[in-house]
């Protein structure tokens, strides 16, 4: 046996049996407290409503592991934090695996089977790897301290937009204390680990198997050299090692015991949240089960266990807070604080042994932990928060579930109440007569087929704004002309079409949504067509993703991808290229919801336009403020509107000529915001369809009239 074959670290070296027993007793106590904490948390989640996940657990687990190992979701839009967290994560995992390896040998394999492997070369490499892991972890932690202490990032400011100074839960200093305690505990554990390593080296410097292999623990060895130079004797090293051993060990045990009771639990809850995420959370909202007496969420226990778990997964990273358009314009909403508020509420009510009476479980209101209706109604359901959350917290479905309860109680803006009644009565939000839905076709020099009366290839679902809003009607007419000129066999449903219901559903009026969806599906079933096209991303989203739940499965395209195909097939041709400097606004429902980022950009490129993207584009596109029914609720006077915020962003692009939109509501919102931000005359807002018309001049041919 060569000299290095036997090298290892003797555990509990020079400890008395009593001391070893004491350590084991404390260790088991820590594990006991940990298990109790886990039980309490699981009991809390189980007090939520039932939910059956679809998809296999294996693929869910695979997806979760992939996300965690790659740190893809943590890295997005904040590479520094992502990198630092990656260092902490991998450092921590390696150190944990190291400890587990020792346990495997010392408490399992050796006593049971006499197997020893933690020695020799393996031990030396093990020492080196763990020393490096410690450096990685400490480096990451120190950067995180720098972020919290010196960078003063607005997203890490815990003051709440939905509370006022003086409210008990406005500042929440306990969150800051917890953050720092977490960082310091890990830093001290890591640092004392190195010191302990160094003290042991000094103590055992006379043993060649220890001293000669010391550089396999480079950090420990370097500190040991320093301690030696400072005059620490072997005996002194022994004393230091003994006291540090207990200090380091106790701190680690306390850390383990406290995991389920502190933010450290995100190690488990974030992973679990990623695993149970709803891949379609952005596109389709859950139905109200037939068996449910009242729709939506009134009590904390009305949330599903998955949603309660979501609350615990939040790490307060503030990315949703930063992305939220309502928060950006000073509305009393931060998605982060909705989650944290509900979490505080769940912890206060659901962690005790017995469940408090139902009267104490109401989550609506202004008391600490509750969510105010002003907060819920501020949401645009633009999904920016859900999209960016690194741990798959699904805020918007939570908000909509709470709104469903508000709608049931009639707790909403009177104008919204009126609009919902109007939609129920007339099938559209404009309060226009059903029979006028197809009136825009009268100005065309050709007849638009009634798809209910004759078969068509393409069924065009027009939508409310494109049908009734006078400004949008012009765009609608151009699109009809383009289809006609390209020789597309298309038709519409005329008065058989109703509001698609996308926004009604996001308001939380599920009953009305069902009526609209069922009525549209019935109308579509009566028509003969191959596929659907729409210029309205809202209709597109709900028909594509939500109608299938009601039995309506259709092939549907947004007009951008449809027109792109017409160009590719040579049915349309750019004869007058536009040399315009443009920027493109990704509509929430086309971009973030359904990943339709490329087709509109390809079209702009085809038209010969120069495209300068805004900083907030694609997945991070900034909502115009109209979503979630907010187009029917007036914004407070005197405060900035999201559309104005966006116009200012666009105005910063030098030489911008056209702000291009591809959604009827965007056209309405941004043409207004262009004026109210004083940018009129500097650039214009146009529908992509209008630009296409400019580049593809109308054919003066066979079209004329019916």
């Amino acid at each position: 046996m060569s000299r290095t074959d036997a090298v290892t670290r003797i555990l509990f070296e020079s400890f008395s049996t009593a001391e070893v027993r004491l350590f084991y007793a404390l260790g088991y106590t820590a594990i006991g407290i940990f298990c109790w904490g886990v039980y309490v948390q699981i009991r809390k989640y189980r007090r939520g409503a039932a939910l059956i996940l679809d998809g296999s657990l294996w693929s869910r687990a695979g997806d979760m592991v992939g996300k965690i190992l790659s740190h893809r979701t943590v890295d997005r839009r904040d590479h520094a934090a992502g990198g630092a967290h990656r260092l902490i994560f991998y450092g921590f995992v390696l150190l944990f695996l190291g400890t587990a390896t020792i346990t495997l040998q010392y408490d399992i394999l050796e006593p049971l089977f006499g197997i020893r492997f933690w020695q020799g070369e393996f031990y030396l490499i093990f020492s080196l790897v763990l020393d490096i892991a410690g450096v990685a972890m400490l480096g990451g932690l120190l950067y995180m301290m720098y972020r919290r202490g010196w960078m003063r990032l607005p997203k890490l400011d815990y003051t709440r937009p939905d509370r006022s100074p003086g409210d008990p839960d406005f500042l929440r200093p306990e969150y800051r204390r917890e953050d720092w305690a977490f960082l310091w505990t890990l830093v001290i554990i890591g640092f004392t680990g190195y010191l302990l390593e160094a003290a042991r080296l000094v103590w055992l410097q006379s043993r060649p198997d220890v001293w000669d292999t010391r550089w396999w623990s480079p950090v420990g060895a370097a500190i040991a050299e320093g301690l030696g130079a400072a005059g620490l004797t072997a005996q002194g090293g022994g004393v230091l090692r003994f006291s540090l051993w207990w200090f380091h060990g106790m701190l680690a045990l306390i850390f383990i015991a406290l995991i389920p009771f502190t933010k450290v639990k995100h190690i488990f809850t974030a992973a679990a949240s990623l695993m149970v995420r709803d891949p379609k959370a952005s596109q389709r909202l859950p139905r109200v089960p037939e068996t449910q007496a009242t729709p939506g969420v009134a009590k904390i226990t009305d949330f599903t266990w998955k949603q309660l778990l979501n609350l615990d997964a939040c790490t307060k990273c503030g990315r949703c807070h930063e992305a939220c358009p309502a928060r950006a314009v000073g509305a009393p909403l931060s998605p982060r604080d909705v989650i944290l508020s509900l979490r505080e509420f769940a912890n206060a009510t659901l962690e005790s042994g017995t469940l408090p009476p139902a009267a104490e479980l109401g989550v609506h209101g202004k008391s600490p932990g509750q969510v105010a209706m002003e907060t819920l109604w501020s949401c645009r359901t633009c999904m920016a928060c859900v999209e960016i959350c690194p741990v798959a917290v699904e805020h918007v479905p939570i908000i909509v579930q709470m709104r469903r309860k508000l709608v049931e109680d009639g707790a909403m803006d009177p104008l919204l109440t009126k609009t919902l009644q109007t939609i129920h009565k007339t099938g559209n939000s404009f309060g226009e007569s059903k029979r006028k839905r197809g009136s825009w076709t009268k100005a065309l020099p050709f007849k638009v087929k009634d798809a209910r009366k004759e078969p068509v290839d393409l069924l065009w679902f027009v939508g409310d704004y494109a049908s009734f809003d006078p400004r949008n009607q012009k765009v609608t007419q151009i699109f009809a002309a383009l289809l006609h000129e390209a020789g597309v066999d298309f038709g519409i449903l005329y008065d058989g079409e109703s509001n698609a219901g996308n926004d009604v559903r996001r308001v939380g009026e599920e009953g009305l949504y069902e009526v609209l969806a069922e009525s549209n599906i019935a109308a579509l079933e009566k028509a003969t067509f191959k596929s659907i096209v729409t210029t309205d991303p809202h209709s597109y989203n709900t028909i594509l993703n939500e109608y299938p739940d009601f039995g309506g499965k259709y092939e549907i395209q947004h007009y951008t991808s449809f027109l792109k195909k017409l160009f590719a097939d040579g049915k349309l041709e750019v004869t007058r290229p536009l040399k315009l400097r443009t920027t493109f606004h990704d509509p929430c429902h086309l971009g973030r919801f359904n990943k339709g980022y490329e087709a509109p950009r390809d079209l702009l490129n085809l038209l010969g336009c120069e495209l300068v993207d805004m900083k907030r584009c694609r997945a991070n596109s900034f909502c115009c403020g109209a979503g979630g029914g907010r187009i029917w609720i007036p914004d407070p006077v005197g405060s900035e509107k999201p559309a104005q915020n966006r116009m200012r962003e666009a105005a910063a692009i030098p030489g911008l000529e056209v702000y291009v939109v591809s959604c009827p509501k965007d056209l309405t919102m941004f043409e207004d915001a262009l004026k109210t931000t004083g940018n009129e005359g500097k650039f214009v807002v146009k529908e992509l369809i209008e630009l296409i018309r400019e580049a593809v001049p109308a054919r003066q041919t066979e079209t004329l009239p019916a």
């Binding site: 109200v288 049931e408 007569s433 009305l512 009526v515």
Partner: protein, 266 residues
């Protein structure tokens, strides 16, 4: 305790409506039907009284109308009414407000409520007389245009305010049972979610004939009425015109019109 609410399903005009062939009304096809707006407020007032009361209160809505009014009655049930009654019989189409009131009074006699609410008027016919005529048939005290109400179910009297011209208010004490016609704005009517409307669809509506409430054919319809609609007409078009063009052109044209009216030479 019981509060009876007289409600009506009214008709609103659709765009580009046409007058019926007999010239006495609008073609059915161009009408959008809904619960009369005033009745929404009187129902809300009753439901609020019920919710605030410790003693049980029954809120009963009644409509003298054909089957199509069931939709409005269901909306009332969705908003918190406990029962709905609809009275209809052959030959009742030509009933005027007095005839309707006679039927309502008959229902009130058999239901024996502590209070009867009606809307000030209906938005489609605007007679503003049904509620008060019902009080006359019952011989109950009555008041119109009630804009705030303080009433505890079962109390001998109620205190209320009613709107007068020029922003004045009357504060009135009235003996119960009484008939009050309720003005818009007395409260904020609740939203009936589609879910609650659907659930109300399962609730029964008590359908009765004239005989069921102790009346005969002559009490309603044309023979029971004192007035008859002869014709519906559309007034001649006014001289409104839309001025088109940019702001400057519009202003110039406007100035020209004003000069024309003043008789100034252009």
């Amino acid at each position: 305790m019981k509060i009876l609410i007289a409600v009506k399903q009214v008709a609103a005009l659709d765009e580009d409506f046409e007058i019926r062939a007999d010239g006495r009304g609008v073609d059915e096809e161009f009408l959008i039907r809904d619960l009369n707006e005033w009745d929404d407020y009187s129902l809300e007032e009753a439901v609020k009284i019920k919710e605030a009361s410790t003693a049980p209160v029954e809120v009963v809505v009644v409509s003298v109308a054909p089957e199509e009014a069931d939709e409005a009655l269901r909306k009332c049930l969705a908003k918190g009414a406990d029962r709905a009654i609809r009275i209809w019989d052959d030959g009742m189409e030509e009933s005027d407000p007095i005839a309707i009131a006679r039927v309502l009074a008959a229902v009130a006699k058999s239901e024996a409520p502590d209070m009867l609410f009606a809307g000030v008027q209906s938005s489609d016919q605007s007679f503003a007389s049904t509620g008060i005529a019902t009080a006359a048939f019952l011989g109950w005290p009555h008041a119109a245009v009630v804009s705030s109400l303080d009433y505890a179910p079962g109390a001998k009297s109620a205190l209320f305010r009613r709107e007068l011209e020029g922003g004045l208010l009357h504060e009135v004490e009235i003996q119960c049972p009484a008939v009050l016609t309720i003005q818009l704005g007395i409260n904020t009517p609740r939203y009936a979610s589609l879910r609650s409307i659907k659930q109300a669809a399962a609730k029964p509506i008590e359908v009765k004939t004239l005989a069921d409430v102790g009346l005969s054919a002559g009490d309603a319809g044309e023979s029971g009425s004192h007035s008859r609609i002869r014709r519906m007409c559309i007034p001649d078009k006014g001289r409104a015109q839309l001025i088109e063009g940019d702001a400057a052109a519009q202003a110039a044209r406007l100035a020209e019109i004003i000069r024309e009216f003043k008789g100034d030479a252009a």
